[in-house]
Assembly symmetry: C2
Homo-oligomer: 226 residues x 2
Protein backbone atom coordinates (compact mmCIF):
# COMPACT_ATOMS: atom_id res chain seq x y z
CA UNK A 1 0.00 0.00 0.00
CA UNK A 2 1.16 3.58 -0.59
CA UNK A 3 1.60 5.23 2.80
CA UNK A 4 2.69 8.76 3.70
CA UNK A 5 4.28 9.53 7.05
CA UNK A 6 4.32 13.20 8.00
CA UNK A 7 7.26 13.91 10.29
CA UNK A 8 10.95 13.02 10.37
CA UNK A 9 11.44 12.57 14.14
CA UNK A 10 11.67 9.43 16.23
CA UNK A 11 8.06 8.36 15.64
CA UNK A 12 8.12 9.15 11.91
CA UNK A 13 11.36 7.22 11.47
CA UNK A 14 10.11 4.19 13.41
CA UNK A 15 6.81 3.99 11.54
CA UNK A 16 8.35 4.61 8.11
CA UNK A 17 10.98 1.92 8.72
CA UNK A 18 8.45 -0.62 9.96
CA UNK A 19 5.99 0.04 7.12
CA UNK A 20 8.73 -0.16 4.46
CA UNK A 21 10.04 -3.39 6.02
CA UNK A 22 6.58 -4.86 5.48
CA UNK A 23 6.69 -4.02 1.80
CA UNK A 24 4.61 -0.84 1.79
CA UNK A 25 5.53 1.98 -0.58
CA UNK A 26 6.36 4.69 1.97
CA UNK A 27 7.03 8.38 1.50
CA UNK A 28 8.05 10.54 4.44
CA UNK A 29 6.72 14.08 4.20
CA UNK A 30 8.71 17.03 5.48
CA UNK A 31 8.76 20.80 5.15
CA UNK A 32 12.06 21.03 3.28
CA UNK A 33 13.48 17.83 1.81
CA UNK A 34 17.05 19.07 1.33
CA UNK A 35 17.19 20.46 4.85
CA UNK A 36 15.79 17.26 6.36
CA UNK A 37 18.30 15.07 4.48
CA UNK A 38 21.15 17.37 5.55
CA UNK A 39 20.51 16.56 9.24
CA UNK A 40 23.16 13.97 10.12
CA UNK A 41 23.57 14.39 13.88
CA UNK A 42 21.37 12.79 16.53
CA UNK A 43 19.07 15.06 18.55
CA UNK A 44 19.12 15.44 22.33
CA UNK A 45 17.13 12.22 22.81
CA UNK A 46 19.47 10.17 20.61
CA UNK A 47 17.17 10.06 17.58
CA UNK A 48 19.34 9.93 14.46
CA UNK A 49 19.41 12.97 12.19
CA UNK A 50 16.93 12.27 9.41
CA UNK A 51 19.65 12.23 6.72
CA UNK A 52 21.65 9.64 8.66
CA UNK A 53 18.51 7.56 9.21
CA UNK A 54 17.54 7.77 5.55
CA UNK A 55 20.97 6.54 4.42
CA UNK A 56 20.03 3.27 6.13
CA UNK A 57 16.50 3.22 4.66
CA UNK A 58 17.01 4.12 1.00
CA UNK A 59 13.73 2.50 -0.12
CA UNK A 60 11.75 5.11 1.84
CA UNK A 61 10.98 8.08 -0.40
CA UNK A 62 11.16 11.60 0.93
CA UNK A 63 8.95 14.42 -0.29
CA UNK A 64 7.33 17.67 0.67
CA UNK A 65 4.08 17.56 2.64
CA UNK A 66 2.01 18.03 -0.56
CA UNK A 67 4.00 15.31 -2.37
CA UNK A 68 3.57 12.89 0.54
CA UNK A 69 -0.15 13.66 0.79
CA UNK A 70 -0.56 12.96 -2.92
CA UNK A 71 1.43 9.72 -2.58
CA UNK A 72 -0.34 8.15 0.39
CA UNK A 73 -3.54 6.14 0.33
CA UNK A 74 -3.14 6.09 4.09
CA UNK A 75 -1.56 9.07 5.84
CA UNK A 76 0.16 9.03 9.22
CA UNK A 77 0.53 12.12 11.39
CA UNK A 78 3.81 11.73 13.24
CA UNK A 79 4.51 15.45 13.57
CA UNK A 80 4.31 17.15 16.92
CA UNK A 81 0.85 17.96 18.19
CA UNK A 82 1.49 21.68 17.89
CA UNK A 83 2.52 21.47 14.22
CA UNK A 84 -0.08 19.20 12.69
CA UNK A 85 -2.74 21.69 11.58
CA UNK A 86 -0.16 23.79 9.77
CA UNK A 87 1.42 20.69 8.22
CA UNK A 88 -1.92 19.44 6.92
CA UNK A 89 -2.68 22.93 5.65
CA UNK A 90 0.57 22.83 3.68
CA UNK A 91 -0.26 19.35 2.41
CA UNK A 92 -3.50 20.77 1.02
CA UNK A 93 -7.07 19.82 1.86
CA UNK A 94 -7.70 18.65 -1.71
CA UNK A 95 -4.95 16.02 -1.42
CA UNK A 96 -6.29 14.81 1.96
CA UNK A 97 -9.95 14.45 1.03
CA UNK A 98 -11.37 10.98 1.50
CA UNK A 99 -8.13 9.54 2.89
CA UNK A 100 -7.49 7.86 6.21
CA UNK A 101 -5.22 9.80 8.59
CA UNK A 102 -3.74 7.87 11.50
CA UNK A 103 -3.15 10.52 14.16
CA UNK A 104 -0.28 9.34 16.35
CA UNK A 105 0.48 12.77 17.84
CA UNK A 106 -0.27 14.13 21.29
CA UNK A 107 -0.99 17.76 22.18
CA UNK A 108 2.00 18.04 24.52
CA UNK A 109 2.88 21.53 25.68
CA UNK A 110 6.45 21.79 26.99
CA UNK A 111 6.30 25.59 27.33
CA UNK A 112 5.79 25.40 31.09
CA UNK A 113 8.51 22.80 31.63
CA UNK A 114 8.51 19.09 32.39
CA UNK A 115 6.28 17.13 32.70
CA UNK A 116 4.44 18.77 29.81
CA UNK A 117 0.76 19.61 30.08
CA UNK A 118 -1.77 19.05 27.29
CA UNK A 119 -2.52 22.07 25.10
CA UNK A 120 -6.03 20.70 24.58
CA UNK A 121 -7.98 18.17 26.65
CA UNK A 122 -11.14 17.29 28.55
CA UNK A 123 -13.69 18.99 26.26
CA UNK A 124 -11.72 18.68 23.02
CA UNK A 125 -8.75 16.81 21.57
CA UNK A 126 -6.10 17.11 18.90
CA UNK A 127 -7.82 14.47 16.77
CA UNK A 128 -11.09 16.40 16.92
CA UNK A 129 -9.30 19.62 15.96
CA UNK A 130 -7.88 17.86 12.90
CA UNK A 131 -11.24 16.30 12.04
CA UNK A 132 -12.98 19.69 12.28
CA UNK A 133 -10.31 21.48 10.22
CA UNK A 134 -10.31 18.77 7.53
CA UNK A 135 -13.79 17.26 7.51
CA UNK A 136 -13.12 15.14 4.42
CA UNK A 137 -10.26 13.32 6.17
CA UNK A 138 -11.07 10.09 7.99
CA UNK A 139 -9.17 10.67 11.22
CA UNK A 140 -8.33 7.58 13.25
CA UNK A 141 -6.59 8.21 16.56
CA UNK A 142 -4.22 5.36 17.29
CA UNK A 143 -0.73 4.47 18.49
CA UNK A 144 -0.44 7.67 20.55
CA UNK A 145 -0.31 5.90 23.91
CA UNK A 146 2.99 4.09 23.45
CA UNK A 147 6.47 5.14 22.45
CA UNK A 148 7.89 4.56 18.97
CA UNK A 149 9.47 1.18 19.67
CA UNK A 150 6.40 -0.30 21.37
CA UNK A 151 4.01 1.03 18.73
CA UNK A 152 5.94 -0.58 15.87
CA UNK A 153 6.82 -3.79 17.72
CA UNK A 154 4.44 -4.38 20.64
CA UNK A 155 6.04 -7.74 21.40
CA UNK A 156 8.98 -5.85 22.95
CA UNK A 157 6.70 -5.52 26.01
CA UNK A 158 5.05 -8.46 27.76
CA UNK A 159 4.72 -10.62 24.65
CA UNK A 160 2.29 -8.01 23.20
CA UNK A 161 -0.25 -8.83 25.90
CA UNK A 162 -1.45 -5.22 26.25
CA UNK A 163 -3.91 -2.86 24.65
CA UNK A 164 -3.98 -0.44 21.74
CA UNK A 165 -6.86 2.05 21.65
CA UNK A 166 -8.28 3.23 18.34
CA UNK A 167 -11.12 5.66 17.75
CA UNK A 168 -12.63 7.69 14.95
CA UNK A 169 -15.88 8.40 13.17
CA UNK A 170 -15.42 6.08 10.17
CA UNK A 171 -15.84 2.35 10.81
CA UNK A 172 -14.11 1.27 7.61
CA UNK A 173 -11.15 3.56 8.32
CA UNK A 174 -10.83 2.06 11.81
CA UNK A 175 -10.95 -1.43 10.32
CA UNK A 176 -8.10 -0.58 7.90
CA UNK A 177 -5.98 0.89 10.68
CA UNK A 178 -6.70 -2.11 12.90
CA UNK A 179 -5.50 -4.42 10.13
CA UNK A 180 -2.36 -2.33 9.69
CA UNK A 181 -1.45 -2.31 13.39
CA UNK A 182 -2.18 -6.02 13.70
CA UNK A 183 0.55 -6.50 11.08
CA UNK A 184 2.93 -4.81 13.58
CA UNK A 185 2.03 -7.48 16.13
CA UNK A 186 -0.78 -5.78 18.04
CA UNK A 187 -3.16 -8.39 19.38
CA UNK A 188 -5.53 -6.44 21.64
CA UNK A 189 -6.87 -3.55 19.52
CA UNK A 190 -9.80 -1.88 21.22
CA UNK A 191 -12.18 0.43 19.36
CA UNK A 192 -13.24 2.94 22.01
CA UNK A 193 -15.65 4.94 19.89
CA UNK A 194 -15.92 7.99 17.70
CA UNK A 195 -13.29 10.70 17.40
CA UNK A 196 -14.37 12.34 20.67
CA UNK A 197 -12.87 9.31 22.44
CA UNK A 198 -9.49 10.77 21.49
CA UNK A 199 -9.96 13.04 24.52
CA UNK A 200 -9.71 9.91 26.63
CA UNK A 201 -6.71 8.36 24.88
CA UNK A 202 -4.78 11.65 24.68
CA UNK A 203 -5.47 12.12 28.41
CA UNK A 204 -3.50 8.92 29.04
CA UNK A 205 -0.33 10.87 28.35
CA UNK A 206 0.05 12.30 31.88
CA UNK A 207 0.09 8.82 33.45
CA UNK A 208 2.30 7.56 30.62
CA UNK A 209 4.80 10.32 31.39
CA UNK A 210 4.71 9.54 35.14
CA UNK A 211 5.36 5.86 34.44
CA UNK A 212 8.18 6.74 32.06
CA UNK A 213 9.75 8.78 34.86
CA UNK A 214 9.28 5.90 37.28
CA UNK A 215 10.52 3.04 35.13
CA UNK A 216 13.23 5.07 33.30
CA UNK A 217 12.28 3.22 30.13
CA UNK A 218 9.42 3.66 27.65
CA UNK A 219 9.07 -0.12 27.29
CA UNK A 220 5.71 -0.49 29.02
CA UNK A 221 2.05 -0.22 28.11
CA UNK A 222 -1.45 -0.39 29.54
CA UNK A 223 -3.52 -3.53 29.33
CA UNK A 224 -7.25 -3.37 29.86
CA UNK A 225 -8.08 -6.39 32.01
CA UNK A 226 -11.72 -7.45 31.85
Amino acid sequence: MRIAVFGTGMVGQALAARLAEQGHDVMVGTRDVAQALARKDPDGRGTPGFGAWHAGHPRVQVGTFPQAAAHGEILVNATSGTAVLEVLGQAGAERLAGKVLIDVANPLDFSKGVPPTLSVCNTDSLAEQIQRAFPALKVVKALNTTNASVMTDPATVGDADHTLFVCGNDAEAKARVTELVRSFGWKDVLDVGDVTAARATEMLLPIWLRLFGLFKTPLFNFKVVH
Copy 2:
Protein backbone atom coordinates in the same frame (compact mmCIF):
# COMPACT_ATOMS: atom_id res chain seq x y z
CA MET B 1 -7.85 0.76 63.26
CA ARG B 2 -10.35 3.62 63.59
CA ILE B 3 -11.35 4.69 60.09
CA ALA B 4 -13.76 7.40 58.97
CA VAL B 5 -15.48 7.22 55.60
CA PHE B 6 -16.98 10.48 54.38
CA GLY B 7 -19.92 9.78 52.09
CA THR B 8 -22.94 7.47 52.14
CA GLY B 9 -23.14 6.60 48.42
CA MET B 10 -22.06 3.49 46.56
CA VAL B 11 -18.33 4.01 47.18
CA GLY B 12 -18.77 4.96 50.83
CA GLN B 13 -20.96 1.93 51.46
CA ALA B 14 -18.56 -0.47 49.72
CA LEU B 15 -15.50 0.83 51.56
CA ALA B 16 -17.21 1.00 54.97
CA ALA B 17 -18.51 -2.56 54.59
CA ARG B 18 -15.16 -3.93 53.49
CA LEU B 19 -13.23 -2.15 56.24
CA ALA B 20 -15.70 -3.23 58.94
CA GLU B 21 -15.56 -6.81 57.64
CA GLN B 22 -11.82 -6.73 58.24
CA GLY B 23 -12.33 -5.72 61.85
CA HIS B 24 -11.70 -2.00 61.60
CA ASP B 25 -13.70 0.39 63.77
CA VAL B 26 -15.51 2.33 61.04
CA MET B 27 -17.61 5.46 61.26
CA VAL B 28 -19.38 6.82 58.20
CA GLY B 29 -19.60 10.60 58.16
CA THR B 30 -22.58 12.40 56.69
CA ARG B 31 -24.15 15.85 56.74
CA ASP B 32 -27.30 14.86 58.66
CA VAL B 33 -27.32 11.46 60.39
CA ALA B 34 -31.10 11.19 60.83
CA GLN B 35 -31.73 12.15 57.21
CA ALA B 36 -29.15 9.67 55.92
CA LEU B 37 -30.58 6.81 57.99
CA ALA B 38 -34.08 7.68 56.79
CA ARG B 39 -33.14 6.92 53.17
CA LYS B 40 -34.51 3.44 52.53
CA ASP B 41 -34.99 3.38 48.74
CA PRO B 42 -32.31 2.63 46.18
CA ASP B 43 -31.10 5.48 43.97
CA GLY B 44 -31.22 5.52 40.17
CA ARG B 45 -28.09 3.36 39.90
CA GLY B 46 -29.43 0.71 42.28
CA THR B 47 -27.33 1.76 45.27
CA PRO B 48 -29.31 0.97 48.42
CA GLY B 49 -30.64 3.88 50.46
CA PHE B 50 -28.13 4.45 53.25
CA GLY B 51 -30.63 3.50 55.97
CA ALA B 52 -31.39 0.20 54.25
CA TRP B 53 -27.68 -0.48 53.81
CA HIS B 54 -26.94 0.37 57.43
CA ALA B 55 -29.60 -2.05 58.69
CA GLY B 56 -27.39 -4.79 57.22
CA HIS B 57 -24.16 -3.31 58.62
CA PRO B 58 -25.04 -2.41 62.22
CA ARG B 59 -21.42 -2.47 63.40
CA VAL B 60 -20.61 0.54 61.25
CA GLN B 61 -21.14 3.73 63.24
CA VAL B 62 -22.69 6.79 61.67
CA GLY B 63 -21.82 10.34 62.65
CA THR B 64 -21.64 13.87 61.40
CA PHE B 65 -18.60 14.95 59.40
CA PRO B 66 -16.95 16.45 62.53
CA GLN B 67 -17.70 13.29 64.56
CA ALA B 68 -16.30 11.05 61.84
CA ALA B 69 -13.18 13.23 61.46
CA ALA B 70 -12.60 13.01 65.22
CA HIS B 71 -13.10 9.24 65.13
CA GLY B 72 -10.77 8.30 62.29
CA GLU B 73 -7.05 7.75 62.43
CA ILE B 74 -7.35 7.28 58.68
CA LEU B 75 -9.96 9.25 56.74
CA VAL B 76 -11.47 8.26 53.41
CA ASN B 77 -13.03 10.78 51.04
CA ALA B 78 -15.85 8.97 49.27
CA THR B 79 -17.97 12.06 48.69
CA SER B 80 -18.44 13.45 45.20
CA GLY B 81 -15.57 15.48 43.83
CA THR B 82 -17.65 18.64 43.85
CA ALA B 83 -18.57 18.30 47.55
CA VAL B 84 -15.30 17.39 49.19
CA LEU B 85 -13.88 20.82 50.09
CA GLU B 86 -17.12 21.82 51.79
CA VAL B 87 -17.34 18.46 53.57
CA LEU B 88 -13.80 18.77 54.90
CA GLY B 89 -14.52 22.35 55.91
CA GLN B 90 -17.50 21.10 57.94
CA ALA B 91 -15.36 18.34 59.43
CA GLY B 92 -13.00 21.02 60.69
CA ALA B 93 -9.33 21.54 59.85
CA GLU B 94 -8.31 20.98 63.48
CA ARG B 95 -9.78 17.45 63.41
CA LEU B 96 -8.03 16.65 60.13
CA ALA B 97 -4.56 17.88 61.02
CA GLY B 98 -1.85 15.24 60.80
CA LYS B 99 -4.19 12.54 59.56
CA VAL B 100 -4.05 10.50 56.38
CA LEU B 101 -6.87 11.19 53.92
CA ILE B 102 -7.40 8.63 51.16
CA ASP B 103 -8.96 10.61 48.34
CA VAL B 104 -11.09 8.22 46.28
CA ALA B 105 -13.15 10.93 44.55
CA ASN B 106 -12.96 12.22 41.00
CA PRO B 107 -13.75 15.75 39.84
CA LEU B 108 -16.54 14.63 37.52
CA ASP B 109 -18.75 17.37 36.14
CA PHE B 110 -22.10 16.07 34.87
CA SER B 111 -23.48 19.58 34.26
CA LYS B 112 -22.88 19.34 30.50
CA GLY B 113 -24.30 15.82 30.19
CA VAL B 114 -22.79 12.37 29.72
CA PRO B 115 -19.96 11.46 29.51
CA PRO B 116 -18.99 13.93 32.25
CA THR B 117 -15.95 16.15 31.84
CA LEU B 118 -13.46 16.87 34.62
CA SER B 119 -14.02 20.08 36.59
CA VAL B 120 -10.27 20.29 37.14
CA CYS B 121 -7.44 18.60 35.24
CA ASN B 122 -4.16 18.95 33.35
CA THR B 123 -2.56 21.69 35.47
CA ASP B 124 -4.28 20.85 38.76
CA SER B 125 -6.26 18.05 40.39
CA LEU B 126 -8.85 17.45 43.06
CA ALA B 127 -6.25 15.89 45.36
CA GLU B 128 -4.04 18.96 45.02
CA GLN B 129 -6.99 21.25 45.77
CA ILE B 130 -7.62 19.28 48.97
CA GLN B 131 -3.94 19.29 49.89
CA ARG B 132 -3.69 23.07 49.37
CA ALA B 133 -6.89 23.78 51.33
CA PHE B 134 -5.84 21.50 54.22
CA PRO B 135 -2.04 21.52 54.28
CA ALA B 136 -1.86 19.54 57.55
CA LEU B 137 -3.73 16.61 55.97
CA LYS B 138 -1.65 13.86 54.39
CA VAL B 139 -3.57 13.38 51.16
CA VAL B 140 -3.06 10.08 49.36
CA LYS B 141 -4.87 9.71 46.05
CA ALA B 142 -5.86 6.09 45.57
CA LEU B 143 -8.69 3.80 44.48
CA ASN B 144 -10.19 6.45 42.20
CA THR B 145 -9.55 4.53 38.99
CA THR B 146 -11.85 1.57 39.63
CA ASN B 147 -15.47 1.18 40.59
CA ALA B 148 -16.58 0.34 44.12
CA SER B 149 -16.67 -3.42 43.71
CA VAL B 150 -13.24 -3.66 42.07
CA MET B 151 -11.64 -1.29 44.58
CA THR B 152 -12.79 -3.32 47.57
CA ASP B 153 -12.28 -6.74 45.98
CA PRO B 154 -9.82 -6.53 43.08
CA ALA B 155 -9.91 -10.29 42.58
CA THR B 156 -13.34 -9.87 40.94
CA VAL B 157 -11.34 -8.87 37.83
CA GLY B 158 -8.59 -11.01 36.27
CA ASP B 159 -7.47 -12.62 39.52
CA ALA B 160 -6.34 -9.16 40.75
CA ASP B 161 -3.63 -9.08 38.09
CA HIS B 162 -3.99 -5.34 37.45
CA THR B 163 -2.70 -2.07 38.84
CA LEU B 164 -3.68 0.38 41.55
CA PHE B 165 -2.05 3.81 41.43
CA VAL B 166 -1.26 5.72 44.62
CA CYS B 167 0.35 9.12 44.99
CA GLY B 168 0.85 11.79 47.61
CA ASN B 169 3.52 13.87 49.28
CA ASP B 170 3.99 11.80 52.45
CA ALA B 171 5.88 8.52 52.07
CA GLU B 172 4.69 7.06 55.37
CA ALA B 173 1.07 7.89 54.55
CA LYS B 174 1.43 6.15 51.18
CA ALA B 175 2.93 3.12 52.90
CA ARG B 176 -0.04 2.92 55.30
CA VAL B 177 -2.54 3.22 52.45
CA THR B 178 -0.65 0.61 50.45
CA GLU B 179 -0.85 -1.79 53.39
CA LEU B 180 -4.58 -1.11 53.75
CA VAL B 181 -5.37 -1.74 50.07
CA ARG B 182 -3.21 -4.85 50.03
CA SER B 183 -5.55 -6.18 52.69
CA PHE B 184 -8.37 -5.79 50.12
CA GLY B 185 -6.42 -8.06 47.77
CA TRP B 186 -4.51 -5.50 45.69
CA LYS B 187 -1.25 -7.02 44.50
CA ASP B 188 0.17 -4.46 42.08
CA VAL B 189 0.18 -1.13 43.96
CA LEU B 190 2.23 1.45 42.08
CA ASP B 191 3.46 4.66 43.75
CA VAL B 192 3.44 7.18 40.90
CA GLY B 193 4.81 10.14 42.83
CA ASP B 194 3.79 13.19 44.78
CA VAL B 195 0.29 14.64 44.93
CA THR B 196 0.67 16.32 41.53
CA ALA B 197 0.56 12.81 40.02
CA ALA B 198 -3.15 12.85 40.91
CA ARG B 199 -3.58 14.88 37.71
CA ALA B 200 -2.53 11.78 35.83
CA THR B 201 -4.67 9.29 37.73
CA GLU B 202 -7.77 11.51 37.72
CA MET B 203 -7.27 11.96 33.96
CA LEU B 204 -7.77 8.19 33.61
CA LEU B 205 -11.48 8.76 34.20
CA PRO B 206 -12.34 9.65 30.59
CA ILE B 207 -10.94 6.34 29.27
CA TRP B 208 -12.51 4.49 32.22
CA LEU B 209 -15.91 5.96 31.29
CA ARG B 210 -15.46 5.00 27.61
CA LEU B 211 -14.57 1.44 28.57
CA PHE B 212 -17.54 1.27 30.94
CA GLY B 213 -19.76 2.30 28.01
CA LEU B 214 -18.12 -0.31 25.80
CA PHE B 215 -18.15 -3.27 28.18
CA LYS B 216 -21.47 -2.39 29.89
CA THR B 217 -19.89 -3.47 33.16
CA PRO B 218 -17.51 -1.73 35.56
CA LEU B 219 -15.65 -4.99 36.18
CA PHE B 220 -12.40 -4.11 34.44
CA ASN B 221 -9.18 -2.33 35.28
CA PHE B 222 -5.90 -1.16 33.83
CA LYS B 223 -2.73 -3.16 34.21
CA VAL B 224 0.63 -1.57 33.63
CA VAL B 225 2.64 -4.15 31.70
CA HIS B 226 6.40 -3.62 31.87
